[in-house]
Structure formats: C-alpha cells, structure tokens
C-alpha cells in the first residue's frame, strides 16, 4: 500500500516553476559552501597532521581553517532559502521524511552548533594550543567528524521523501539511512566536497600576495598544484561513484531526460579534467591560467547534476503528487459539503 496523504489546502505562494528555479539555484549555491566547509574541515586536519613533521603544513592548515568559519556562515544562511522552497513545494513529502527520522532531524541543531563552536575554538586557539598540537588536532578532527555525519541526516531525509511506498516500512533514522541509494549519494557528495575544496585552494593561492605565500613557506606552484590534485582524484573517482548512484536509485524516475542531463554534465567534466591535467604539467606563469575555464566547465557540470537531480525527483513524485492533489480536492469538497449541512 502506498499512503496518499492530503496536502495543506492553501495555494502555492508563487507559480510552481518559479519556486523550482529558486529551489534548484539556491540549493546549488548553498551546497557549494557546504562542500567548501566540509572539504575545508577535512583538509585542515590532513595538513595539520602533516604539520606535525613539517611546520609549513601547519601554517597552510591555519590558512584553510580560517576560511572554514566564513564558508560555514555562508553555508547556513544560504541554506534557509532552499529549505523554505522545499517546505513549500514538497510539504507532504519533506515533513513526512522529517517526522519519520525525527530525533535525528532535530539533532541537526545541536550537532551543527557543536561543530561550529569546535571550529571557532580550533581557529581562535591556534597559537595558544601550539604546545598541545595533538589536542588541537583532535578538536579539528571532532569538528570534521561532525561535519561528515550531518549531511547523512539531510541526505536520508531528501532520499526518504522521494519514496512514499517505503514510508510505512521505516522505523527511525537508521532504517531510513539503509534505503538503497543513500550511501552511494553520500560518497558522491563527499568526493565533490573534496574536489571543490581543491579548486578553492587553487583560487586561494593562485594570485595570493607574495607575503602570504612566504608566510606559509611553501612555494606557490606547490600550493596550486596540491589544490589541483585534490580536485582531480575525487573527480576521477566520480566516474565510478556517479554511475553507481544512478544505478541504485529506484528506476521510476530514471527517465531518458534525467539520464541525458546527467550524462551531459559528466561529458562536460571531461575537458575540465583534461585542463586540470595540463595545469598539473605547467610551470611558472603558465600554471593557473586555465583556472577559470576549468571552473566554468565544472559549474556547468554542477548545474546539470543539480537539474538532473531535480528532474529525477519530479519524475519520481509526479504521479503521487497528482494523487495527493486529487485527494486534497475531494477532501475539500467534502469539507464544504459538511459545513453546508451543519449550517442551521
């Protein structure tokens, strides 16, 4: 049995296509900063551990850590708009998923607060904890672990809302987490976070003032190249993980259109990868010249993936949404009729 609940009987506040554009566009913007926050937190830990042997990497970690707190603020505020849009467009679906994973859904609030406070503690106590490096790294690692876990809660909800047929099977968050494609999507997302942060590192150091580069002590080419490497390897891995995601999502929504859009995104990533490889082989002033072409191509990829994701959601839910609308209309007619009968 598939549950068909009634929707809120108030009109949408704007034409649906407008709400969809708001949802997709602002969600992508939000997720870019979430990617940078998570990737930044992970790379901070990695470089700080390397910094135990070579202090230059500790200084690099500090520069990256400084960006995490800014990116996290933007990630949070940019998330509000898409949350509003998804609340409006998919009220029945989203709230149902929220309720079925309720405790974990609520725990987003304390978990994110804890992660943010740890990030500030880590950043502002950098020099004060210089003689307790391992404890300092432990704080960063704990924050990174929280940052790694929180997206799972969102992903589980976003996934569960797509499958009304599974709603009555779910018993809490962990059972919803085990629905077939949550984990592949999660890996897809984490790889994207690392890749995007790699490009962010290139952006950070490509044209940074010499003084900033000298303060770190690692030469500019090495920094830029390490950024490209962080971008390249996960992006290559996406060519395995991406198809896995596509194959594990339930088939109803995997229409030709969805596959075409996602394939287009993947194909556009190919020249970007080629350009990254060329960058890694370049030296001196030639290094970094292809940055904006790479970013432009990958932006198109991200737009394709985001659109494909939305088209999949639409294709999966459309028949059920039609049922919900029809039931809500019938219910409201019955409401009117009963009110009429009840009038003296």
């Amino acid at each position: 049995m598939i549950p068909i609940p009634k929707d809120v009987p108030l009109a949408l506040p704007a034409p649906e296509p407008l709400l969809v554009v708001l949802l997709v566009a602002f969600f992508l913007l939000h997720i870019v900063f979430v990617n940078l926050m998570i990737g930044g937190a992970l790379l901070t830990v990695v470089y700080q551990i390397r910094g135990l042997k070579d202090v230059r990497f500790d200084r690099l970690a500090h520069v990256i850590a400084d960006t995490v707190t800014v990116n996290k603020s933007l990630a949070v505020v940019l998330g509000v708009g898409p949350l509003l849009a998804i609340n409006t467009l998919y009220t029945v679906y989203f709230y149902t998923a929220n309720a079925l994973t309720g405790e974990m859904w609520l725990s987003i609030v304390p978990l994110v607060i804890a992660a943010f406070l740890l990030t500030y503690l880590h950043k502002f106590r950098w020099h004060a904890m210089a003689s307790h490096r391992r404890w300092h790294i432990a704080i960063a690692a704990l924050a990174a672990a929280l940052f790694l876990f929180i997206p799972l809660i969102f992903l589980t909800n976003i996934n569960l809302m797509l499958f009304p047929a599974r709603w009555t099977e779910v018993r809490g968050f962990w059972s919803a987490l085990l629905l077939p494609n949550v984990l592949p999507r999660y890996v897809h997302f984490i790889l994207a976070s690392i890749a995007l942060t790699g490009l962010f590192i290139v952006w950070l150091f490509r044209r940074a003032p010499d003084a900033k580069i000298q303060a770190i002590g690692v030469d500019r080419e090495t920094l830029v190249r390490s950024g490209y490497r962080w971008a390249l390897i996960p992006t290559l891995a996406q060519f395995v993980v991406g198809p896995t995601v596509l194959l594990t999502v339930p088939g109803d929504g995997r229409t030709g259109q969805v596959i075409a859009v996602i394939l287009a995104g993947a194909v556009i990533a190919l020249p970007a990868i080629w350009l990254i490889v060329l960058e890694l082989r370049s030296h001196g002033t030639a290094l970094g010249r292809r940055f904006w072409p790479i970013v432009s191509l990958l932006t198109i990829t991200v737009l394709c993936m985001g659109s494909g994701r939305h088209l999949y959601r639409e294709a999966t839910l459309a028949p059920h949404q039609a049922e919900v609308r029809a039931l809500t209309d019938r219910y409201m007619q019955a409401v009117d009729q009963a009110a009429h009968e009840a009038r003296p």
Partner: protein, 486 residues
C-alpha cells in the same frame, strides 16, 4: 493530522520548540538586534575620543556576540523550522504558504546581515586608517539595521498567529502582515532588544575591564546609559502591546472564563513588566551614578530579570493564541476550524491517512475484544491530543484527568467531560471526532493511566496506513497500473 506524527512523550513536543525558540529570541534580541548598534556606538565613541580602550572593549563584546550569534543564534533560528515541521507540520506548512515572500525577503536581508557581520568582525583589526575606521563604523550600524529588519519581518508572522485580522477573509500577504498586533509587538520588541543588549554589555564590560579600574568606571557609566534610555521605551511599548491583546483574545474566544483567566495573566504580566523595568532602571541608574557600587552579579541578575520578562511575554503570546495555533483558522491540534463539521460528521479516523497501531508493550495484557477500540483510541490521541499533551510526561493528559477525577475514571465520565471541555477550558480546542471515537479515546486514556506505557511517535515505531481511510491509500498495484495507463 495527515503527516506521520513525531511525538516526544517525556518532555512533550511544546517543550522542544519552547527551548529552541526562547534561546533564539534571547540571542537574537540581546546579542544581535540590540547589541550591534551598541557595539558600533562604543566603537564610534572610541574613534571620536581617540582612546583605544573603547575600541578594544567594543571588539571584545563583538567577539562574544559574533561567536554566539553565528553558531547558537543562527542554528536555533533554522531550528525553529526544523522543530515546527515535526511538532505542528500543518501550522508551519500553512504559515509558509501565506508568508513565503515575507520569509523570502527576510532571508535576503539575513544573507546581507550575515555577510556584513562577517565583514564587520573580520575587518575590525585590519581597517585602521581614519577613513577605513569610519567606514567600519558605518558597517556596524548597517549590520544593526539589517538585524532589525529581519526581526521586524518575523514579528509580523508571530503577531499574525495571534490574530490574523483581515487575512481571514482576504487571504493576501498584505492583509496578513498588517494584522492588528504587529506594530504594538514590534514597538515592544525593539526597545526590549536594545535594553537587553545594554544589560548584557554592562555585564561583559564589567568582566573585560577588570584590569583597568579607572576605565571600568567610565565604561560602565557610558554603557549603562544605553538601557537607561531604552527601558522606558520598553515599558511604553509593553504597555501598548499588552493593551491590544484583550481585543485579539476576544476575537479568538469571547468567553467570560477565558477573560477571567486572562485578566489574571495580564495583571501578572504587567506587574512583571513594571518590576523588571524598575530593577533594570535602578541598576542602570546606579551604574551611571555610582558604577563602583554595582557588582557584576547585579548585571547578571538584571539579565536574568530581562530573560524572565521575555519568557513571560512569549508565554502570554502562546497563551493568547489558544485554542488556536493560527487565530480562528487552525486549532492547536493542527486541525483547521473549517474541517470540524466534516470530522464531527464522519469521524477523524475516516479521514486520517495514517494510524498508530498498538506496540508490543501496549498489546500485552489487553483482552482481544478491546484491541480494536484501544488502537482507535491511540490514533485519536495522536491526532487530537499529542501536539500539546504527553501520556505521563510534561503536560500529561493522565495527570490532568487525575486531578479532576481521582479514582473515578469511567469511559462515559471522561467522554462527557471531553465533549464539553472547550466550554470549561476555553483554551482547549473542541474534540474533533465523533462519539465512537470519543469513547475509544476515553478507553485509551484509562489504559494509559493503568499501564503507564510511554506513547512512541512515528520517529520510533513508524506509521501504518489506515485501512478505513476513504481514498487515502491505493494499493501499490492499482497505483502502478494507473501510472501505466497514463
């Protein structure tokens, strides 16, 4: 009632949202809306006098505000939505449909506010030339302005929930925003936020200037001028707000009993306002005249008084709304006023998509012939009562009846009482179902009292489809075949 229902049976659903929302209000008012203009003023004073100690003090206060507002403040704001979607999904879903563009605008302002606050804080030690410093101070006031606008938009929604005014007939965003309680509430909250910030800042100043006693006196004197200025305006705003509430309440339910109960609340509230205002006023006055006489703990006590006052106002705001969650439109149980005739006629269960079967624990020891009735009673409890009541936890439904009936729990007695409950206790919504459901609920309540088993929500035990719900469910087969035909 058509969503799977999350339920926290120990602390109650309301407590969750109360904690998150109160924390958010305190941080928003005391550390953002009210604090940033004060910090910018201190910074400006520092620039004007050329005394760097003022700048350092302003920076330190801002550091505390910045860290708390961008972590706990920001997240509890989003948290209110996350909680509301669990606790009263129909209410928040409806509010979002009405106020989408208000929230959307608020979001754009919020983005600007957060971006500005990040720039303001991170450039503090970098923009040191006189021209840059002037720009920095202007940034500070701009952040304050944006914070105020976000609050001003949200207050419109809060006031709407108390009394939607002409929205009930017009159904437009404009009529929703221009509700009767909006301006008075805003006129209260604005100086309240500024006063709160003054008290917090006085406390922080006392802490941060410990090593420089001479400057401490001077700084405390200056900072205390802030609440001294805003407290009387808070009092005036509070008076205006409190004076429009009775009308709103009469619009909600014009019963004498509620009026009586409300008058007690109102008196308490006004006494609270005056007492708090006096305490604040005295401490600030003393802080200005004899800063040395005021220990740090006094500022902390003043802060607690303001928190108490704010909490009291939020409680009254919640109380005044009852029995509605959206005045005249939706009851606190999430059921629309307009749905009642249908639900009374057909029963709740016929129109509920989900049911909440008895769990293994609840099943044990129950005679088979009572099972169906108890299961019905449980679903009725979840749909009609669980948004506000727990079984045996906070605001326990069992305890409420125990206080009235003591040992004499009879299904008929309970059912009779529930039928007329909204007359005796006008802040309760009327019972939404039919007579059979009323008896099933009564049976279930007696069972709750006997077994003391907690009622688990959908987040723990999931939900089941209601086999009796008309149209509410299709077999997977039928749905798939219909899809095939399309």
């Amino acid at each position: 009632m058509d969503f799977p229902l999350f339920h926290a049976d120990l602390i109650g659903n309301r407590a969750i949202i109360a904690v998150v929302a109160t924390l958010h209000v305190l941080i928003n008012h005391g550390l953002a809306v009210g604090m940033v203009p004060l910090v910018a003023t201190i910074e400006w004073h520092g620039q004007r006098t050329g005394d760097k100690r003022w700048d350092d003090l302003a920076y330190k206060i801002m550091l505390v505000s910045f860290i708390i507002t961008t972590t706990i403040g920001a997240l509890t704001g989003v948290g209110i939505w996350l909680c509301a979607s669990l606790i009263n999904p129909y209410a928040i879903g409806s509010l979002i449909r009405v106020f989408f563009w208000a929230w959307f605008t608020e979001w754009l302002v919020f983005i600007s506010e957060v971006s500005l606050i990040v720039v303001y804080f991170l450039t503090w030690r970098k923009w040191m030339t006189p021209a840059l410093k002037r720009r920095h101070i202007r940034f500070g006031f701009a952040v304050g302005g944006f914070s105020w606008v976000t609050m001003a938009i949200i207050v419109a929604i809060l006031a709407f929930m108390m009394d939607p005014g002409s929205w009930l007939t017009e159904r437009t965003l404009f009529s929703g925003v221009t509700n009767p309680i909006y301006l008075p509430q805003l006129a209260f909250r604005t100086p309240l936020a500024l006063s709160m910030a003054g008290i917090v800042a006085a406390f922080l100043t006392a802490c941060f200037t410990r090593r420089d006693r001479a400057f401490q006196q001077e700084a405390l004197r200056a900072v205390n001028l802030w609440p001294l200025f805003w407290v009387p305006l808070t009092l005036a705003g509070g008076w205006w707000y409190a004076s429009v509430i009775p009308e709103a309440m009469q619009a909600n339910v014009g019963t004498a009993l509620l009026t009586m109960e409300f008058e007690q609340w109102q008196t308490q509230l006004l006494e609270g306002v005056v007492a708090t205002a006096l305490i604040l006023y005295l401490i600030s006055q003393l802080g200005v005249l004899r800063p040395r006489w005021v220990p740090r703990i006094a500022y902390f006590a003043a802060l607690l008084a303001v928190i108490g006052l704010t909490g009291q106002f939020e409680r009254v705001r919640e109380f005044i709304r009852k029995p509605f969650v959206i005045g005249q439109y939706m009851y606190a149980n999430g059921i629309r006023v307009g749905d009642y005739p249908l639900l009374k006629r057909d029963g709740l269960l016929r129109h509920s998509t989900y049911v909440y079967p008895l769990t293994e624990n609840e099943l044990s020891g129950v005679l088979p012939d009572r099972l169906d009735r108890l299961a019905d009673g449980k679903t009725v409890f979840m749909v009609a009562c669980s948004r506000c009541h727990t079984s045996n936890g906070v605001n326990s439904v069992v305890a409420r009846f125990e206080a009235m009936f003591e040992g004499t729990w009879e299904p008929k007695l309970l059912a009779d009482y529930i039928t007329n409950m909204h007359d005796v206790r006008p802040y309760m919504p009327p019972f939404p179902g039919n007579d059979a459901e009323l008896l099933a609920l009564s049976d279930y309540l007696i069972q709750l009292r006997t077994t003391r088993q907690p009622v688990e929500g959908a987040q723990e035990v999931g939900v089941a489809i209601n086999p009796r719900a008309v149209d509410a469910a299709r077999s997977a087969q039928a749905l798939l075949s219909e899809r095939g035909q399309r």
